[in-house]
C-alpha cells in the first residue's frame, strides 16, 4: 500500500454566474499521506469548503483529477461513489447536518445499517459512550445543543471505521468551550485510530494541533 492517501492534480473549480466565470480553485496539486492530520486554512471565501468537497467526492471538479488510495474518483458516478462515502470516508459538517427525523443513536447507526451491519446499534452505543453522551441516544437533533450535535455527527462519521475523515469547520458553529472539546475529540481520534484527518478551519487552536497546514489564498495554495 502506497503511503499517499489522497492526491490531486491541477484541480480547478469554477462557477458561471451568468456569463461571468468565477474561479474558486485554481490548479491545486497536493498529496496527503496515510494517517496524516492536515488542516486546510485560509480566510473566509478562500475556497476551503470547495476543496474539501472535491477531495471527498461531494462535488465534481471543473478540471484536474483526484485520486483516493489507488483509485481515481474524479469521474465516478454518484452510485459508484456511494460505497466510498459509506465505508472509506466520513464527513463532519459545520452545520452538523443530522437527519432531523432520527434520534441521536439512529443517526449514528444509519451508515452502518446501510451496509447491513448487524452490530450497528451496539457500535453506535459504544461510540456515544465514548463521546460522553451515553444517555442522550433517544434525543432528537433539535433536543441537543450544538456541541452535542457535533459529537453525534462525529460518531456518525466514525461508525464504519473509515480511513479518512473530512471535517469542514467542525467548530465553526460552537462556542470556545465546546470547540475545545471537539478539537480534543478529533485529535484523540486521530491518535487512537490512525485515520487520515483533513480539516478545513480558520481556528488557530485547531490548526496548531495539526501535522501540516495547507494555506489557501484566493483559490490557490500559498507556498511557504
Amino acid at each position: 500500500m502506497s503511503s499517499t492517501h489522497i492526491q490531486t492534480e491541477n484541480l480547478s473549480r469554477y462557477y458561471y454566474l451568468g456569463d461571468q466565470k468565477i474561479m474558486v480553485l485554481r490548479d491545486i496539486s497536493l498529496k496527503i499521506n496515510r494517517g496524516e492530520f492536515v488542516v486546510i486554512a485560509g480566510s473566509s471565501g478562500s475556497g476551503k469548503t470547495t476543496l474539501l468537497s472535491l477531495l471527498s467526492g461531494l462535488d465534481r471538479p471543473s478540471s484536474g483529477r483526484i485520486i483516493m488510495g489507488d483509485r481515481d474518483i474524479t469521474d465516478l458516478t454518484e452510485d459508484q461513489l456511494a460505497p466510498v462515502r459509506n465505508t472509506l470516508t466520513g464527513f463532519v459538517f459545520q452545520a452538523f447536518h443530522l437527519i432531523p427525523s432520527l434520534n441521536a443513536i439512529e443517526n449514528i447507526m444509519f451508515p452502518a445499517e446501510l451496509r447491513k451491519d448487524p452490530k450497528a446499534r451496539e457500535k453506535a452505543q459504544s461510540l456515544l459512550d465514548q463521546v460522553g453522551l451515553r444517555d442522550r441516544g433517544k434525543n432528537f437533533p433539535e433536543q441537543l445543543s450544538g456541541g452535542e450535535q457535533q459529537r453525534v455527527a462525529i460518531c456518525r462519521a466514525l461508525i464504519n471505521d473509515p480511513e479518512i475523515i473530512f471535517a469542514d469547520e467542525p467548530t465553526g458553529n460552537l462556542d470556545s468551550e465546546n470547540s475545545e472539546g471537539i478539537i480534543q475529540l478529533l485529535v484523540d481520534l486521530h491518535k487512537e485510530r490512525n485515520v487520515t484527518l483533513v480539516i478545513a478551519t480558520h481556528s488557530q487552536a485547531l490548526a496548531s494541533r495539526a501535522g501540516r497546514i495547507i494555506h489557501l489564498y484566493d483559490g490557490r495554495i500559498e507556498k511557504g
Partner: protein, 831 residues
Amino acid sequence: MNIRFLIREILHGKSQAVVFILCVALSLVSIVAINSFRGDVQHSIASDARDLHGGDVIVHSRYEFSPALQQEISRLAEQPGIQVARTWEFYSVARRADGRDSLFSNIKAVEAGYPLYGTVDLLSDRDFSAVLQPGKAIVAPELLDRLGLVPGDTLLLGESSVDIVDTIRRESLRPVDFFTFGPRILVSAADLARMNLVQQGSRVQYETLLKIADSSQIEKITSQLQALAIPGQERIATSTTASSRVKRFFDNLLFFLSLISVFTLLLAGIGMQSSLAAFLRPREKSFAILRSLGATGSFLLCHYLVIVFLLSAIGCTIGILSGLLLEKNFSTLFGGLLPDNIVLGGSLADVLEGVGLGLVVVSFFTFLPLSRIQNVKPAAVFRKEIESGRTNRSAYVLTGCGIILLTGLVVQQLDDLRIGLYFLGGVLALITIISVLISILLRLLSRLRIASLPLRQAVRSLLRPGNATRTIVVTLASALSVLLTIYLIEYNLHATYIASYPEDAPNLFCLDIQKNQQQDFLKLVGKDVELFPVIRARLASINGEKVRRTAERKKRGDSLAREFNLTYRQQLLSDEVLIKGDSLFGRVSEQSGLIPVSILDTVADMGDMKLGDVLMFNVQGVPMKAEVSSIRSRTKSMLYPFFYFVFPEENLRAAPQTFFGALKVQKSEIAQLENTIVNRFPNISTINVGETAAELEKILQKLSAIINFFASFSILAGALILVSSVLATRMSRIKEAVYYKVLGANTRFVLRVFFLENFILALLSSGCAILVAQAGSWALCLFLFNIEYDPSWQMSCIMLILTVCLVVTLGLLSSVSVLRQKPIGFLREQS
C-alpha cells in the same frame, strides 16, 4: 404599497401560487356550472309555465271526475272567455292492422282546442288541431320505426282503428320524453269510446285544462273548483303551482349535483388553505427579518392581502369562465336528458353569483393562514424552527363568523335548511371519522418496530413534524370515499333492480285483465298463470293521522300519498317471508272487528307502521278501515311483482278490480305472445320486462355518468392538495435525500425510501376511504334503500391501485431531480 415586493413574493412561491389559483378555480367550476344550468333548465321548462301545462288551471285525477266537479267544469265551459279541453292519457298496446306486430305505447286522447297553450309541432308543419280529426292519429316517429309503418297506414288501438296522418316533432307539454316507456300516440277524444280502452279499473290520467281570458279570475275559479274536488284524489292547480314530472326530476338531479359540488367546494377550500399556508411558511423567516427591520405587521398583512386578492381574482375568473364553458357543453354530458328547447349558456347573473360565491369561499379559507402573518414576532429570527404564530381570540370570533357565513352559503345553495345542516354535519362527521382513523393509524405506525431501513426511513419522513401527511390523507380519503360510495350505491342499486333479475322470474306482465276475461285469458296463454287481483286505492290516514299529500310529495323517494294497488289472497308468495305477526291475517277480525291487512316492510318503514296500527283506505270513494295484522319482507329482486297491502279475499272480492298476470315466456316468443294477447284482448296491456329493464338501465347509466363526472372534481381537489404538499415538503425531502447520499446511500435506496413514503401515504388514504365507503354504503343500502349489499371489492382494489399510482408518480416526479446532482450545492443552502 410596494409593487416590486408584491411581484417578488409571488414569483418566489409561484408553484404554490399556481396550486392556490387552481384550488380557487376548482371550488367554483362545478358549482357555477350547476347554478347556471339550473337557471337554464328552469327557464326552458318554465319560461312559460302555461306552455308546459297547457292551461291556466289544470284539473287532474286518476279517476273519472266526481259529478259535482264535472258539473262545475261544464258550467264554466259555457261562460264567455273560458275555454276547456279534456284529455285522457294511458298506456296500451298499438297494433299493426295486419296483426303482425304490436308496441306498448303512451296514448293521449284530446278534445278539440288542445293544447290551450303551447304547441304540438308536426313534421309536416301543418296546424295540429286541423290535422287531428276523429279517426286519425298523430304519432311519435319512433312508433313508425318500430312497427314498420308510414303515415297513411292504419293503426289498431283497442277495438278501433285509426289512420296515421302525421308525426310529432315536438310537444311543448313534454320537453323531455325519457320518462315515458313507449312512444306517444295522440288521438281525438271522439275515438275514445270506440277504442273501449278506458274501463273500470284501468290506469287513466284524466286531465282537464282551462284557459281563462281574464287572468284575475284564475284564483277565484281555482278555489271554486278546489271546494268541489275530492281531497287526495282530484288535484286542482294553476300553471304556476302545478308541478311537473320533468321539473321534479331536474329538481332532484340538480339537488344531488349541488351536494356533490358543495362537497368539491369544501375540499378545494381545504386545498386553498393548505397551499396558502405552504406558500407562506418558507417566508416566515423573512417576515421575522422584515419585522426586526421595522416593518409593521399590518404592512405585511396588507401586502399579502393584495397578493391573495390578486391570486383569487385570477382563480375566480378561471373558475367562473370554465364553469360557464362547461355548462355550455352540457348537452354532450346530459345527452337525451335535456329539455329539447333548452338554451345553454351563462348570463351576467351567473357570473355575479359566481363572484359572490368566490368571495365568501376565498375569504373563509384564506383567513386563518393570513391571520398568522400579523403574529410573526421579530424574535423568530433567533430561533431555528419558527413556531407558527398563535391564533388569538379575535381570530376565533372571526372564524366563527366565517363558519356561519359558509353554512349560510351551503344552505342557500341547497335551498333547504334542514338538509343543508345535515349535509354540513355529515361532511364534518366524515372528516372527523377519517381524521380519527388516520390519527390512530399514524400513532400505530410510529410505535411499530420496523426492521427494514428504507421502510423505517419512509415512515419517519411521513411522521416528520410539519409534514402535511394528515391533511393530505384526510382530504384525499374524504374525496375517495365519497366517490367510492357513489359507485357502490349505484352498483348495488343496479345489481338489485336490474342485473339480478332472476332467470326464472316472469318476463311478461299483463295489466288490466278484466274480471270476465280471466278464463279466456288463461286459455289463450295456455299456461297456469297466477292472476293477482288489483284494487286501486289511496291511504287516507294512519292511526287517525291524515297522510299529507304536500309533505309526502316533497319527500325524495316513494310517497305514501300516491295511489296504491291493493290485492287479496290467503297465503304468502314464494318470495315472501313474515317478519312480524304469526300469520298473514292473525286474529285481528275476531278481536277488533276491523279488516286485517298485511303490509310489506318497505311501506311499513315509510309510514312508521307497526302491528296493530289502524289504516284508513279510500277505495275509489269508499272508505275502508283496516288493522295491520302482519308485516312481510321480500327475498327477491325488486322487479318481481309485489304488493304493499294484502287483504283477505272476502273483504275485497266485491271491489272494482282488474287482474295482473306475470308470465315466464321464452325470450324469442315474447313478441309473438304479446301480439296474440292484444289482438284478442285489445284492452290488456303487456309489458316486456326485459326490454323495460334495458331501457331503465340506459337512463341509470346516463345518470351515473353525470354524477361520476361531477364527483371526479372532488378527486381533483385531493390531487391538488397532494401536489401542494409535495411542493411544500420538497426542500426537506431533498435535504433528506442529500443526507442519505452523503452517508453512502445509493440511488436505489433513496428511490426506495421515496417510493415507500408515497406508497404508505396512498395506502393510508385509500385504505381509510375504502373502510369508510364500504361501511357507509352498507348502512345506506341496508337502512335507506332496503336492499341487499354486495361490497364489490374489485372496484375498491382498482381505486386503491389507481391512488397508489397517482400518489407515487406525483411524489417521485417531484423528488428525482435530486438524485443525479452532487450533494454539495444543497448542503450549502442548508448551512
